[in-house]
Subunit: 403 residues, 2 copies
């Protein structure tokens, strides 16, 4: 008998019909002889509705009280799903985050899971109950309710799978797997059967919104086999696991991220220590810097440019302008009309032809490359935002994903 | 410094405006130098909405899962009220039933409070926090969420007041106190300044829906000073406490209960043991029998009639009809076109004129008395339902409540 953790997002349980659809997936898995632990999110728009209620009363409410409020969303989902499974005639029990033993730190609104005290889970599984667990929530050391922040339910599911040594952790979404590119833009994008944790991490970070990277990082750390699949179509999804064979298909996907701004610190002295000063100022403000480019010095000065998430642009500009004299810059410039196109695939570094193929495709489409960054499994280029879709298509076409 | 427990029902927190009204009452009490513990119910129609959601999925859902679902209603209220109090600039913390230490038995949907483990409450009060507690809910020995059933939030408030040795437990409702009769029917009904626990219990049982009798019983047992008052008008309400002086106003109120049916077991043998058989059959089915009347034997047979709550009429008729031969009855009859009018007041027994005055008032209004029952602090009569309002008015007029 296997143990399978299944996670269903808010759209998968948005109404009674969808809840019964989930109940059937769960009970079929159980009937096949498996123990099943199910993690659910809040129904459809519940979280937004609760936030609206809070904002009407106090837009600056404490995060502690927001977590008390928001955690009710998942508690409603678990009880409704349990009722549907009862209706189908199966033994079932719902557990809130704290009943399931989720212990977190005290960062209300964005808590990290410390451990899962799984006694209760084992008791219920030993009774052969289907166990429905509220995702996204836990309890801190003060016995106060916390929520895990964005992607929290995925993380809950992976943490449970790790703690219970589950054979598989299935993440049900409204897409049927991980694609080589966004299928809404790239018509001939191909669904991947498998992808490695590292490749998935790069894709998640780069805006392929299938899995939140916190959950992928945790799955990699505890070697939890993931599967991303659709709750509406009964067909295999994409397996996310340790890399096994990486010769055959070098490139796993092409991603586009337009939540990015380029900042340039102009005319700083061409001497040691300037870059250190710039980036330590940004680090102190918790600004995430991605691609960095430093111009070659000329006339004793150089320019340092880098990309940051769009939401951190203002923070970055403020701190740099306040310290313009300390870093000897004559001006701070920015451009948020940019997008980042990346190709992801393990073993890329050992194959220099990959980068060339990507750059050639962009050149032939007349798309100018503004910045370049590479890692072991990724090549990213910064281009003009209005050419992002075209770039995604031509780069995807340059590689043979049907091989 | 005093400790005051304040309880607010669902209509008192139904929207943002009402929540701020409650927040102002609470913070004024706190600013006057008191420690304040607040118990709130679910907002307005939340509980009904949640029940509708459940019924759509499974009308026969387990009571355990219903309690997981319904307890979210109060959890939403406590966080929203805490946010409003934060907005007014006061220190506040919300606690769910289990965080506040409510331990109950396992009768899901209608649990009884076993004890309150009040460590957390004391910690928060010692910090001079205003403490907002979710009413109506607790945790059983399996760490499962339970709800307390009807009137549960009142009971939560009284239990907290008893555990914390509060100086006063204020029950805020949409009426401004306990009246000598229902003011919607009896225009000259008078608000009482004080009433004893026993008198309040009789009134609660008889359908004066101000306080649930579970909470009054508990207040009597632990001698908790109660006050019933309006959340919308800032004026004193009615104090409910141990009887002190009872000479002055003999009668505290007149109540009408039309949730009642009369059942008659006809033509049973006039010999010992028959009444015992009838009422033990009913007791086994947990039917609550109230007024009992036994006719004088004639021709060797007699009739036994009694009243039951309307909701238990069918149960009573079924069990009696099934056992008609065992109790030697030739027919079981019933009448649900009746109502019960009661006058309540301590020390009534020692004053025979009270009953005479009540009966005279009914006689002069041409209202026939079908059954009579008396206790130390109550006289009830059964009359035709269509004369109930008139009876309430004439009986109320017969006594001088402005003395």
């Amino acid at each position: 008998m296997g143990l399978i953790v299944q996670k269903f997002g808010g759209t998968s349980v948005k109404d009674a019909e969808r809840i019964f659809n989930v109940a059937r997936i769960v009970t079929e898995t159980y009937s096949a002889g498996n123990n099943v632990v199910v993690v659910v999110s809040a129904q459809g728009d519940t979280t937004d509705d609760l936030i609206a209620k809070a904002n009407e009363i106090n837009p600056n409410a404490s995060k502690r009280e927001m977590d008390v409020l928001l955690s009710t969303g998942e508690q409603i989902s678990i009880s409704l799903l349990a009722m549907a499974i009862e209706k189908l005639g199966f033994p079932v029990v719902s557990l809130t985050g704290w009943q399931a033993g989720f212990v977190t730190n005290s960062t209300y609104g964005n808590a990290r899971i410390r451990r899962i005290e799984s006694e209760r889970l084992h008791v219920e599984l030993d009774k052969r109950n289907i166990v429905i667990v509220a995702g996204f929530q836990g309890l801190n050391r003060y016995d106060d309710i916390t929520t895990l922040g964005r992607g929290g339910s995925d993380t809950s599911a992976v943490a449970l799978a790790a703690e219970l040594h589950a054979d598989l952790c299935q993440i049900y979404t409204d897409v049927d797997g991980v694609y080589t590119a966004d299928p809404r833009i790239v018509k001939n994008a191909v669904k991947l059967d498998e992808i490695s944790f590292d490749e998935m991490l790069e894709l998640a970070t780069l805006g392929a919104q299938v899995l939140h990277n916190r959950s992928v990082e945790m799955a990699k750390k505890y070697n939890v086999n993931l599967e991303v699949l659709s709750s509406l179509e009964r067909k295999p999804g994409t397996k996310v696991k340790e890399a096994v064979k990486m010769e055959k298909m070098l490139i796993k996907g092409v991603a586009c991220d337009d939540d990015v701004a380029r900042i340039a610190v102009m005319g700083v002295p061409d001497k040691p220590g300037i870059a250190f000063k710039v980036f330590s100022l940004l680090a102190k403000e918790k600004v995430n810097v991605d691609i960095i480019l430093q111009s070659i010095g000329r006339d004793g000065t150089k320019d340092i440019s880098f990309t940051v998430p769009l939401s951190q642009k203002e923070t970055a500009l403020t701190v740099l302008n306040e310290n313009k004299e300390a870093i000897n810059s004559h001006s701070i410039e920015y451009d948020d009309n940019v997008a980042k196109i990346s190709i992801v695939g393990a073993g890329m570094q050992s194959n220099s032809g990959v980068a060339a193929k990507m750059f050639e495709a962009l050149y032939e489409a007349g798309i100018n490359i503004r910045m370049i960054s590479t890692s072991e499994i990724k090549i990213s280029v910064l281009i003009d935002k209005e050419k992002a879709e075209k770039a995604l298509i031509v780069v995807h076409d340059a590689f043979d994903f049907n091989a």
